[in-house]
């Protein structure tokens, strides 16, 4: 076992010391937050500059209107007619006329605009008034500001949709869709990239003829497993670095643009109106992030790692068997077909079935069959997979990789010592049957 450890170390160091590893490990996580950062930046910029609209107001009632991130309120001193004239000459968004009104029945508040204002804008302004009037009423009832503030409670209702089958589905399926898609695609890429690396490594050992020197010191099976595990650890390391870098950078970027992670947001009890306004403006981004952060990340991460390892081992062993049988990557093509098919099926099903209907029959079975489960389960993982399905899928995955490793080991031990032979499936079968 000491020797298998040596091989794992060697394989690990070989890959990690390569420049390509360093580049891929650092560049990929930069791209992701860079895109998010860019999007946030653009939307923030447009909020700040282009969209901040000026509303002039003629106030006969002394209502205090706080600026929002959408509007700046500028008092106009003079009559309404003067104001209208001035407004017509200006490029500003609107003119708000606030007559004296009764707190119980505010009437006559009018917004003049040159273009039809959106319902949102009107609603927002109405909310402003409502909040102001409510505060004024409270004060009139001798309720002081402290009490007023303490009455405000933030309630986040999580929306859950109950489908006909009685299955619950969080209504923000956009995020879950995204996670399923990202997880599935990432899995697909990882299996292919690292599987191909196993194959390449083995072909290299075979063509450089070093393999017989090595197998005179270790069992062929040890060499194969050492290689597979060594590369798996490289994959895991890369994945972990990505996760850490990406989350650090993502939060860094969000922090820089002033979008606080929701935990802090919850603590901000100050200026509820402002917060409400801000929330309204940033609602898309923030509720998205909020939703994302409230997901069971540890659970998803654990499953990703489990299915990554399982899927990688299942396919890695097959890639190893192919590598051992051929003398060049070109020759490997003919054996790639049966390996690629289940991967492609699960990849395509990810979009055709799994993400659309995570609990459909096809999706369920694809996520249980070991050859398709790594990708299929990633697609479903956010959507509350029943425990029995998860357990069955995991057990089958473990059984699956023990099986493929066994089959691959039998082909490998013969294949690596055979160079220059014309190999087809019949020959592989013969090798498989051959005694030690």
């Amino acid at each position: 076992m000491n020797k298998i450890w040596l091989i794992i170390q060697r394989e690990f160091l070989n890959r990690v010391q390569k420049k390509s590893f360093l580049i891929a490990t650092i560049v990929v996580p930069l791209i992701f937050p860079a895109i998010i950062g860019l999007l946030v930046f653009v939307s923030k910029q447009s909020e700040k500059n282009a969209r901040k609209e000026v509303i002039h107001f003629v106030d006969e009632s002394k209502t205090f209107l706080p600026d929002t991130s959408r509007f700046v309120f500028k008092p106009f001193v003079g009559s309404l007619d003067d104001a209208k004239r001035a407004f017509n000459d200006s490029e500003d968004f609107g003119l708000l006329y606030i007559p004296t009104y009764e707190l119980s029945k505010p009437k006559g508040i009018t917004l003049y605009t040159k273009i039809n204002p959106s319902l949102d804008d009107v609603g927002n302004i109405e909310h402003l008034f409502e909040a102001q009037i409510k505060d004024m009423k409270m004060r009139r009832l001798n309720i002081d500001q402290k009490l007023l503030d303490s009455l405000k409670t933030n309630v986040n209702i999580s929306t859950v949709k109950v489908s006909e089958g009685g299955q619950e589905k969080s209504s923000n399926s956009g995020i879950l869709f995204g996670i399923g898609m990202a997880g599935g695609i990432l899995m697909y890429m990882f299996i292919f990239i690292y599987g191909a690396q196993i194959m390449q490594g083995i072909i290299e050992e075979k063509t450089s003829k070093v393999v017989e020197v090595i197998v005179s010191s270790v069992r062929p099976f040890q060499l194969m497993m050492g290689k597979i595990i060594g590369l798996a650890s490289v994959g895991l390391l890369q994945f972990l670095i990505w996760i850490i870098l990406m989350s650090t950078l993502t939060f860094g970027v969000l922090g820089y643009f002033g979008i606080d992670p929701p935990q802090q947001q919850a603590m901000q009890q100050m200026a509820p109106e402002v917060a409400a306004q801000q929330a309204a403006v940033n609602s898309n981004v923030i509720s998205g992030i909020n939703e994302a952060l409230n997901l069971p990340w540890a659970f998803i991460l654990f499953n990703f790692l489990f299915y990554f390892l399982g899927g990688y081992l299942i396919y890695g062993a097959l890639f190893a068997a192919v590598g051992s049988a051929v003398d060049s990557p070109a020759e490997a093509q003919q054996f790639m077909f049966p390996i690629t098919i289940p991967l492609l099926i699960s990849y395509m099903s990810l979009f055709m079935f799994i993400l659309k209907d995570p609990h459909g029959t096809v999706s369920v079975w694809l996520s249980i069959i070991p050859f398709t489960s790594p990708i299929a389960m990633m697609g479903r993982i956010g959507f509350e997979v029943p425990l029995w399905q998860l357990v069955l899928s995991m057990v089958l995955l473990i059984a699956g990789f023990i099986f493929t490793t066994w089959v691959a080991g039998r082909i490998y031990r013969v294949g690596i010592l055979m160079s220059g032979t014309k190999v087809n499936y019949k020959v592989l079968a013969k090798w498989f049957m051959q005694r030690g």
Partner: protein, 304 residues
């Protein structure tokens, strides 16, 4: 004690038998040549000894012990199909291979340094193998075979692919290793190396061992009691005791004859009889070369 004893080793594949009841006895501290035409089964038995593949039946013992995984560190193996990791540096490569053979990191380091110094290539430590010339890589390969000081060294076609300079270097090393106590088994086609180096040989043909023994024994067994005589003037030997196999003209008007003794007589008898009929200039027992024995046996087999 014998360095290696194989008894009834048999290996069958689906369509053919690679080894059929092969027995071998390799004396300790000797150089043992494993001969045979291509496809005879030499590499198969070597792989079985190295535990790369398993025999179907038969037993092998090394220094009196039944073959087991601990023997990996006892054996140094240079396969016919050999190579190194191209992208690895010489030092790392040797260190890795030595550790796989069971050496500790520190032991491996010090021994590799000794060997690199010995071959005057200490400055190669940080060179990648792909940057070495073929001859340089061969030296590294040889070091990797012997750096763990194996008691049994198995070289499969060691001279194929080695340039003459390295072949000579390796020949010297082989002799020195033997002097230090190692036993060397090598398979080869090159009969002159067998002639020069080997103490004992085994000949394998068509999966079977057809000949084994010390070089002297083998030659004695296959000598034909023929003598090469250089003489002046023709002669006629009477009687059924001798037969004249061949006669040809040599330099200075001499003749060269091959005379075979049919009986049990000693060379002295022949000389005595010869000097009565001709003027003898030289007299030499004709001992078959390994190459002749090899060809005769292998051809004889295939004629059956």
């Amino acid at each position: 004690m014998e360095a290696l004893v194989a008894k009834g080793v048999t290996k069958r594949y689906a369509n053919h038998t690679a080894l059929d009841q092969v027995d071998l006895t390799v004396p300790e501290q000797s150089i043992y040549g494993l001969l045979g035409p291509n496809g005879a089964g030499k590499t198969t038995i070597i792989r079985i000894i190295n535990q790369i593949i398993n025999a179907d039946s038969g037993e092998i013992s090394i220094f009196g012990q039944k073959l087991n995984p601990d023997h990996i560190g006892v054996i140094g193996y240079l396969p016919e199909e050999r190579g190194l990791y191209k992208k690895l540096k010489v030092g790392e490569q040797l260190l890795y291979l030595a550790q796989l053979k069971g050496l500790s990191r520190n032991d491996a380091l010090s021994r590799i340094k000794v060997w690199l110094q010995k071959f005057e290539v200490s400055d190669w430590w940080n060179k990648k193998v792909e940057d070495l010339s073929k001859g340089m890589a061969q030296k590294v390969q040889f070091i990797s075979t012997v750096m763990h000081e194996p008691r049994l060294i198995i070289l499969d076609e060691p001279f194929s692919g080695f340039d003459p300079v390295n072949a000579q270097l390796i020949t010297e090393e082989i002799l020195e290793l033997k002097k230090k106590g190692s036993t060397i088994i090598f398979s080869t086609h090159r009969m002159e190396t067998v002639e020069d180096l080997c103490d004992s040989i085994a000949l394998i043909n068509k999966s079977k061992k057809i000949l084994e023994g010390s070089k002297k024994q083998v030659k004695a067994k296959y000598k034909t009691n023929s003598f090469l005589v250089e003489h002046r003037g023709t002669f006629n030997l009477t009687g059924s005791q001798y037969s004249l196999v061949h006669q040809e003209a040599a330099e200075d008007g001499l003749l060269k004859s091959t005379v075979k003794m049919n009986g049990d007589g000693s060379p002295n008898d022949l000389i005595r009889d010869l000097i009565q009929v001709t003027e003898v200039h030289s007299f030499l027992e004709k001992i078959p070369s390994m190459s002749e024995i090899f060809i005769a046996l292998v051809k004889g087999e295939s004629h059956e």
